[in-house]
Amino acid sequence: MNSLTFKFIAVLRRVAQIVVVIVGSTLFVSLLLQLLPVGLEDLYVFALDEAGRQEQIRLLHLDANPVMFYLYWLGDFVRGDFGSYVYPTGVLDPVAPRLGAALPISLRLVVYVQIVALAISIPLGIFTAYRSGRRSDKVISYGLFTAASIPNFVFALLLASFFGVSLAWFPPLGYTAPGDGFVEHLRSMALPVMALAIPTVATYTRLLRTDVIATLREDYVTMAASKGLSNRRILFTHVLRPSSVTLFTSAALNMGALIGGTLVIEQIFSIPGLGSEIGLAIFSRQYFALQSYVAIIAIGYVVFNGIVDVAVGFVDPRSRERSNA
């Protein structure tokens, strides 16, 4: 077999892994529904006559065994049917359009947070690493440690009460779509983004600082210095790239925490994103919708991590070799 075949097999293996995780996580949620102390029928079947009742049970696949029930859901999901909210009147409200409205808002939130966090933490991480051990590093590092420990909802509440209510610089509640005025949009996102970004900046800066300090001790940095390169050149050509691998990997892993964070933050700031939808689905016991939401988040997370793995392969050729081996 030639190396191309091996690469192809490696890619296949990788994809298979992703599929296993996605199927596993959705199956997990689906089986979770079996743990409900109430029968699904009691929750979702409201027809008065027996014929209508049977019809609804068949429609919602409630008569199937747990595995078949999951497979029906999976079949629908793959075809783009994410299930429905089921109302006592028997009316089905499909999830897809609601998802279509909510998902972009949450994605915006998460992407803004990542951009802000990386934009601040990269220079800060490098600065503190180069000043390592001196007073400015110690002050910043302790501050960041504290900030990383404070839950994002604490920041959300403090920011909302201070900048939103007391100073009234930003709207404390609500969301403005970019179409309705971009400046207003940014203003409405400012506090939620800050609330999520502060602990994130703290985490990223610490990671980058640690890695840059470790890289600066490497022989190849001394080697670069012994070639007569300037400090700035050494930083950009020799230090930054190997040091950034952990940062970008954990930025990807952090997507999960951020998505979890949006649940709470959207609730606090009344932003109609995925977090609010999930809250609503749980509150009104819409478990079919919940299953699909969890599936979407898990897929997004796994696929995103796969992409970052590939990207890291470009930054750090060693990892490419490792994942192939």
Partner: protein
């Protein structure tokens, strides 16, 4: 080198360990297999020190561990005092291993950092429930004394408080606790400073005499090997090149690889200039070893025959065996 064969095997009552056609392979993913040890045979007589010499990747360490079935080899036999270890059930193998103990290359990594010296040296006795608490304590003190450590000073300290040389002493004390009949030393001095190396080598000699040990001494350092061994086996890329007494091997090496190896060792004497050109190139990957003689890609005497046919070990001088189609004369 590189060949196989059993011409060098001795068949007498003194043979304690006999290894035949041992094969060890590692899967490294992507369907690739490292041929770490390929059909190696050797034997060791009672009271003898067999040195296994070669450069990194030649399979010497893997071979040493495979004798102890760590991990078990893919094929071949390891017969120790008449028992074939490769065929033993797990529990019997466990107790058979106590007669052969190992000293490792990295003295610090081979001692559990959380344990005191007392616990470390006592551990083998604990495993096999040998003696009472007091008897074990006395045995530990005796062992530490024998390896040149003062029990009162070291018993309650942990390995990271010691230098590499002292750790190696503790490690040797531990390996002797079960009173093994054979000691396998895997590069026991290569992680140590020059001035400490000699101390440990002398200690190993002393222990060999005191406990009547048979030894396998694995090393990359020909000079070290010369000082300690009765018989030398030179390996290259998972195969045996040459087997013989130290005097024969050093004074008239028959294999081109052995000769290159000897010529590469720097001699601390500026008046002795080397005429020989160093060996060119580096060992090929053990994943895809060359056909025929595995040394042929770097050998100055290689011919088409070497690519076509694997040389078998044969006797060139009394007691000196070489696996080469065109041995040096």
């Amino acid at each position: 080198m590189a060949g196989s064969g059993t011409a060098h095997m001795r068949n007498n009552d003194e043979v304690v360990l006999e290894v035949r056609d041992l094969v060890v392979e590692f899967k490294i993913g992507r369907g690739l297999v490292v041929n770490a040890v390929s059909k190696v045979s050797f034997d060791v007589c009672r009271g003898e020190t067999l040195a296994i010499v070669g450069e990194s990747g030649c399979g010497k360490t893997t071979l040493g561990k495979a004798v102890l079935q760590l991990p078990p080899p893919k094929s071949g036999d390891v017969v120790f005092e008449g028992t074939n270890l490769t065929k033993l059930p797990k529990e019997q193998l466990r107790s058979a291993r106590t007669a052969m103990q190992m000293v490792f290359q990295d003295p610090i990594s081979s001692l559990d950092p959380r344990m005191t010296v007392r616990a470390l040296v006592e551990e083998p006795l604990w495993i096999w429930e040998r003696g009472t608490e007091e008897e074990r304590g006395a045995k530990v003190r005796e062992l530490l004394n024998n390896v040149g450590l003062d029990p009162d000073l070291v018993l309650n300290r942990r390995s990271y408080e010691f230098s590499g040389g002292q750790c190696q002493r503790i490690s040797i004390a531990r390996s002797l606790a079960l009173e093994p009949r054979m000691l396998i030393c895997d590069e026991p001095v290569s992680a140590l400073d020059v001035s400490i190396q000699a101390q440990i080598l002398n200690l190993l000699q002393d222990m060999k005499d005191r406990y009547g040990l048979t030894m396998i001494f694995i090393s990359h350092d020909l000079a070290v090997v010369k000082a300690v061994s009765n018989r030398i086996m030179v390996m290259y890329l998972g195969k045996v090149c040459e087997v013989g007494s130290p005097d024969a091997i050093y004074s008239k090496p028959a294999h081109h690889y052995t000769s290159a190896l000897i010529n590469s060792v720097p001699i601390p004497d500026p008046t002795r200039k080397r005429g020989a050109v160093p060996l060119q190139g580096e060992p090929p990957s053990p994943v895809a070893p060359p056909s025929g003689c595995r040394f042929r890609t770097r050998c100055p005497a290689a011919t088409e025959l070497c690519a076509a046919e694997e040389p078998q070990l044969r006797e060139v001088n009394p007691g000196q065996y070489v696996a080469c189609h065109h041995p040096r004369t």
